[in-house]
């Protein structure tokens, strides 16, 4: 399998503050990769570097093409869907409009995608006219996932999907993500504080610390090593 996404020595900064000091990672097509680590380690920034939302330098290749010079809209058009922290819901617009925005870069009818989306989230079809901001946190997270799916991306960037959600919903969310990965072949790069949950779903993981990659390996390797689990993953 070829690597869908490659990062080589990527640095990023917010103004004068350096957040990433040279991150290198690869994501194989069709896999789920988790990015773990404590607060402030640079996990979210890594996703932002990929989608072009933050100033970055270094090499980023997606399906063989360089992303270095593209802004967020260019990256999105190449087939990368980024669900940011806080879900990026368009609260003022309706659920239906949110979904249509997911398909913004696509031409033609999105009916088949919408039907697939409704099969995963049946309750969405009843809430189409509702203002997205009135949905609960969990529902908005599902909506964000649905919106990303309508985009039909090759790569999904998920930032802290479990944040603020009840455990039952989080489990459901990860189940859907795994299903999307297995049935639709969606490659996923997920940032998570909840390392245990993330590694259960993922095939491989990278542990970040202070803007650098401290550890990497398959999820089995990472879970198997007790010392790693205790020092880096917190359980």
């Amino acid at each position: 399998m070829t690597a869908l996404l490659e990062l080589e020595d990527v640095e990023a900064r917010y103004g004068p503050v350096h957040a990433l000091h040279g991150i290198s990672l690869t994501v194989e097509e069709g896999s789920i990769v988790a990015v773990l680590g404590p607060n402030g380690a640079g996990k979210t920034t890594t996703l932002r570097a990929i989608s072009g939302t933050v100033r970055r330098s270094g090499r980023i290749r997606f399906a063989g093409r360089p992303l270095d010079r593209l802004g967020p809209d260019g990256v999105a058009r190449l087939g990368v869907a980024h669900v940011p922290e806080g879900r990026g819901t368009f609260s003022e617009l309706t659920v239906s409009e949110n979904l249509r925005l997911g398909a913004y870069t696509r031409r033609g009818s999105i009916k088949p995608e919408l039907e697939r989306v409704f099969s995963y989230f049946p309750w969405l079809s009843e809430r189409l006219r509702q203002a997205a901001g009135t949905l609960s946190g969990g529902e908005q997270q599902m909506l964000a996932l649905a919106r990303a799916f309508v985009h039909r991306p090759r790569l999904l960037l998920l930032d802290e999907p479990s944040l603020g959600l009840a455990p039952v919903l989080v489990a459901e969310l990860f189940r859907i993500v795994r299903e999307l990965n297995e049935r639709e072949g969606l490659t996923v790069l997920v940032v998570e504080q909840n390392a245990h949950l993330a590694l259960q779903a993922a095939d491989a993981g990278y542990v970040l610390e202070a803007g650098r990659v401290a550890l990497s390996g398959t999820s089995d390797e990472l879970r198997a090593d007790d010392s790693i689990r205790r020092s880096y993953l917190g359980y």
């Binding site: 967020p72 809209d73 999105a76 940011p84 990026g88 368009f90 617009l93 925005l101 985009h151």
Partner: protein, 322 residues
């Protein structure tokens, strides 16, 4: 802690009451009816310019003090096209296209660089533009009075004792059709959805692939088109074309936009109609107020709304954090 201290009754109630009042008055007095029609027609024009202001504000958070002068300039372009032999309606659509391009160019060249700086810088750029456009128009065409053929002719309809010049329903019709088309654009098309998303949440929009920069520029282009329509519809009602054409209209449009809420397109149009009708009727029936006091009255409305309910009738209250 919100800034509002004044409870306004539900807006829809006010509007229905107002409409009912107009209807009753029109049935009882033919003069009232004629003035109502005239007021609505003028108000439609104010609403068109107010809508332009609101579009620009929503997209780029800038109040374009030069919106009226821009409209005036495009009207002069139309005059020139007619001088060169185009028919009225050919000129109309050509002017709209030119206005669109002008609006886009202005956004890219003037607004984009200063948008993210201070409010003051953006205000001053539009102020400078006001002065510049005024100077350029005066330079190219001079300050003398000019005449444009009215697209509606001078025909007058007589309906049940009320005389209605074809001009007024014409103005009202053109503006309403334009506003409806703009509404349809925003509501039903992908472009419109992208523009709305870009105005509300530029960062999230970029993530789904919306070219935010272009959306804002197109917003300015649309606003310029609406302004051009306002200018083209104002001219016949004032019978002459001169550089000061849109200056009082700008005042009414500001008042209308603020009354409706700077963020509300519907509010701008309704506000315009309300101000048009109110001013026309007040000048007729409230005796100390003569027609040269229309501008101060509009300003009084503007300031009143700003002090009592800054978010306007249709706007959402802005929560001040301090």
């Amino acid at each position: 802690m919100t800034v509002e201290t004044f409870r306004v009754p539900p807006v829809s109630l006010l509007l229905v009451a107002g409409a009912a009042g107009l209807l009753v008055g029109s049935l009882r007095s033919s003069v009232f009816a004629e003035l109502t029609v005239q007021g609505l027609a003028l108000g439609a024009v104010y609403g068109s310019l107010a809508l332009a202001l609101v579009l620009v504000y929503r997209a780029t958070r800038v109040v374009n003090f030069a919106q009226g002068e821009l409209a005036m300039a495009t009207t002069y372009v139309a005059w020139q096209l007619i001088q060169w032999g185009l028919s009225y309606w050919e000129t109309f659509f050509a002017t709209l296209a030119i206005a669109f391009v002008l609006g886009v160019v202005l956004e890219v060249v003037l607004v984009r660089p200063v948008q993210h700086r201070s409010v003051i810088a953006a205000v001053i750029v539009t102020v400078g533009l006001f002065i510049l456009i005024d100077g350029v128009v005066n330079w190219i065409w001079g300050a003398g009075l000019k005449f444009m053929p009215s697209p509606f002719g001078t025909k007058v309809y007589h309906v049940g004792g009320v005389s209605i010049a074809r001009l007024y329903p014409g103005m009202l019709g053109v503006v309403l059709v334009s506003v409806l088309l703009v509404w349809a654009l925003f509501r039903f098309t992908k472009l419109g959805l992208g523009m709305r998303a870009a105005a509300f949440r530029p960062a999230e929009s970029a993530l789904v692939g919306v070219r935010v920069d272009w959306m804002l520029a197109i917003g300015w282009g649309l606003a310029a088109m609406l302004g051009a329509i306002a200018g083209l519809m104002t001219e016949p009602s004032q019978f002459v074309l001169q550089p000061t054409l849109m200056q009082p209209i700008l005042v009414y449009a500001f008042a209308a936009a603020v009354l409706g809420g700077l963020e509300s397109p519907a509010g701008a149009v309704v506000g315009g109609l309300a101000i048009g009708v109110s001013l026309t009727l007040v000048v007729q029936y409230v005796h100390p107020i003569t027609s040269d006091l229309q501008t101060p009255v509009a300003f009084a409305v503007l300031v009143g709304v700003l002090l009592l309910k800054p978010s306007g009738l249709f706007g959402r209250p802005e929560v001040r954090r301090v």
